[in-house]
Symmetry: C2
């Protein structure tokens, strides 16, 4: 069996190398590529994706995985090899169930869909996008038919991003979360509002950049195994466990973009750098799921980055860099960066309102997949739900249903991972503060090693070995549960808004 | 035949995409990659190289090329399709004649060779490098045995970089050039020497960079289809005809590195950007040879960049940027940037001495391949030839035989392309100034469009369609010939040094 395992590892390493090479081409596309390079880059990326897909669906791989199944049953089920075989077999199984015709149709529909979405958004005219979105929804419904074993047509989609997660579970979580979160923001709305105008001032770009670098260096980001560049839409990407790069953007007139964007991406990057090196090129050298990845970015951005202890340490530094903050007290600053303001745009939403943006999308996605809602009725549904959950109404569809690229790219099942990340971050934090009772004091003195060490040990090093529910249960003793997040929000905003 | 041609184009496009993707990985490696990324990058590059090699030697490709031969005979021999088939067939033929064992042995020997070379150079001890170089020379001799049709064991190597070029031709060219160039630098040595100490002063790095950008923008470099980044060893690289990037380095205490390095690389980049778009992804989307490529970099660096008309236009700009040059007249500046000084290091050599560094290497390479000289005797031979040609003697082997990476990488046959580039640049310039009699006046007023237009029309657009001798003959009416270069050097340095 040793030689079979080695053969499997060789194939997985090759798939991994192709994906990493493609990732570098994608990174360059979003950071440094001149406009002229776009067309050729499309060809190059398509080839690398196709080669990785061919390897990942080859009969050679299928045969190997079949032969290795009895061997895997004899292994410790939590061993690297057993998990590598399990994850590879699942990926093979899912990829080979989908027809080549579907893959081609989907690639074409989403290419056209993205173009139509951009045009429709520009023209503020949903009807331009509508037929393309109808086609994409139809294809996503067809996708579900390849997997009759799943309980719900949304399950196979969700599983692509949150392995093992069921629609029913997600629904239950969100149904429990929604009323509490709506109630919280209504209570906040009745109180005196927080001022954050001091964050909207000119801040030197280079100084902002340098301050962000200082912060994430303190967090423990390893510059020997990564770097930071500018990008219009910040992201983090790996080309190896030893080469995990983040990107950020700097708004010269608003401190938050760089500040919390950089911390957010550093959370993803610390996760990527913390995966056990033995998992490199095995298919397990990735996060457990998008939700777990998001839990790490949210933890550093919010639980750490928007906390009072964080700024007890960093605020004097920030004031030294930007003397214009000299007259703003720590308390005012802390309240300002935590200002709650129901708004139209998801990516600009604060901690208290963010999940409501997601729930609205999730409900529409599920209803579309179930065929209970038609694409033509989505804009109206969007607007009425915005009113109900957040008390605001989009002035047009560009500010409403067409604000995100996801649907035009066929990414149904992706949105809930953002909220799951929020929930998991708070669950981990409760456990963390039990295990490290003086964590606040550590942060207050700029010490992040124990925090990072805990995350490395409990989350990062495992890579993609465990499914998200499994991992969360392993670490916290319960599955993904919104209670901790609600406790966190209620306590934090209760203090800030005197609820 | 249309479908066969299309099949061939598909395969060539795929090979091209793999090579371009690999090129981006290489570019990143030399510009932005953090140290931690090195090991994984090696794996990724090895895979892309292997895939491109597999495609380039596949029996499918061989069969197609065979089937297309009769068709190609019916085409205009200068048509894109005829040339595409010819170049592809030659590449296939060369690649399939070499055994897989050889390819593996060579990759291993050169990996070890480069490591040993670095160590030996560090330790200033040739004996560390010697056994590795012996192995590499042995392998390069073996390479020749795969091609019994070539006249000389050096031919197959040379042909890899200068398609169609023969060792006998190169020898003849250099034998004619050597005595004239040695005589010239001896004459210069007897004259009053030129001062260039004003170039060795502190120059703000950002201002240097910006000035370089201004110059190559004027030359016609298209920033929509490329960019410039920093690299320790500057190079130019293409990921498409529409994405051709250069790199440069800035020495804060010496103006020449940035100034002439940037212009040099821009010559390569203008060539890359000027290839006809129809040739993209056909295997013809590259320069005709390394020598022809070097003719373009040298033309912009020296024939333009070190000329008086160039600085009649740019020197007032340079003085405005660097007021410390205010007291240096244009004439003194012009002489300073053209100072002749026999020295030990090739990459720092001036126009008058550069070719002698190459000749010495070429003679040693040929003698090694012929087995007339042994590796152990090379350091002594190197030093005695340096004395004879340039009148200087290396103080140690790090400054002598071990200064260049080429041999440790197995790149025998590469050095002569540098000198061939010099010679071709002067041949093209004579033709250019016949066709554009007021070129000096144009340059004097900062107009480079007609010059670039001429190069685009006569050289760039053809890409790799023609072999170097064929192309030079087509454009100038004669094959590669050192006479023009000697006329250029004699006139230029005759004036500067009052010979």
């Amino acid at each position: 069996m040793d030689s079979k395992i080695q053969q499997l590892k060789n194939i997985l390493a090759e798939i991994s190398d192709l994906r990493y090479a493609g990732a570098l081409l994608g990174w360059d596309q979003q950071t440094y590529m001149p406009p002229g390079g776009a067309e050729a880059r499309g060809n190059q990326l398509a080839l690398l994706n196709r080669l990785a897909h061919d390897r990942g669906t080859s009969s050679e791989l299928g045969k190997l995985l079949d032969e290795l199944k009895p061997y895997a049953r004899g292994l410790d089920p939590d061993s690297d090899d057993a998990r590598m075989i399990k994850v590879a077999a699942k990926a093979y199984d899912k990829a080979t169930k989908v027809t080549t015709k579907y893959v081609v149709d989907f690639a074409q529909a989403t290419t056209l869909g993205q173009r139509a979405w951009m045009e429709a958004r520009q023209a503020v005219n949903f009807s331009i996008f509508r037929p393309y979105l109808e086609r994409i929804v139809g294809l996503r419904q067809e996708y579900a038919t390849f997997f009759p074993d799943f309980d719900h047509p949304y399950d196979a989609l969700l599983d692509d991003f949150e392995p093992g997660m069921k629609t029913a579970e997600v629904k239950e979580i969100f149904n429990s979360l929604r009323p509490k979160q709506v109630k919280l923001i209504k209570a906040i709305a009745e109180k005196e509002q927080v001022d954050n105008s001091f964050l909207h001032q000119p801040f030197d770009e280079k100084k902002q950049w340098d301050f962000g670098v200082e912060v994430i260096s303190k967090f423990g980001y390893d510059w020997n195994r990564g770097r930071q560049d500018k990008a219009a839409h910040p992201f983090t990407i790996s080309f190896s466990i030893n080469d995990v790069r983040l990107t950020t953007r700097v708004n010269p007139d608003f401190l938050n973009s760089m500040l919390f964007g950089t911390m957010h991406e550093s959370g993803h990057a610390l996760y990527g750098q913390g995966i056990a090196l033995e998992l490199e090129r095995t298919g397990l050298d990735d996060g457990a799921s998008l939700g777990v990845h998001e839990s790490q970015s949210r933890l550093w951005e919010n639980l750490v980055g928007r906390s009072l202890p964080m700024w007890e340490y960093f605020y004097p530094r920030l004031q030294a860099v930007f003397p214009r903050l000299g007259g703003i007290s720590l308390e005012i600053f802390y309240k300002g960066i935590n200002r709650v303001q129901p708004s139209l745009i998801r990516v600009e939403a604060d901690e208290a309102t963010y999940n409501l943006h997601i729930m609205l999308r999730l409900e529409i996605e599920i209803a579309l997949l179930e065929g209970k809602v038609k694409v033509k009725d989505v804009p109206e549904l969007w607007n009425s739900q915005m009113k109900e959950y957040l008390g605001v109404t989009p002035t047009n569809d560009a500010q409403g249903v067409m604000q995100d690229i996801h649907w035009s790219s066929g990414m149904f099942g992706y949105f809930p991972t953002y909220s799951l990340g929020n929930l998991i971050s708070a669950q981990l934090w409760e456990k963390l503060t039990q295990d490290l009772p003086d964590l606040s004091d550590q942060i207050r003195t700029g010490k992040f090693e124990n925090l990072l060490g805990w995350l490395r040990k409990n989350i990062h090093r495992h890579g993609a070995k465990f499914e998200p529910q499994e991992l969360v249960h392993k670490v916290t003793g319960s599955k993904i549960d919104p209670a901790a997040y609600i406790r966190y929000l209620t306590r934090k905003f209760g203090e800030i808004y005197n609820l």
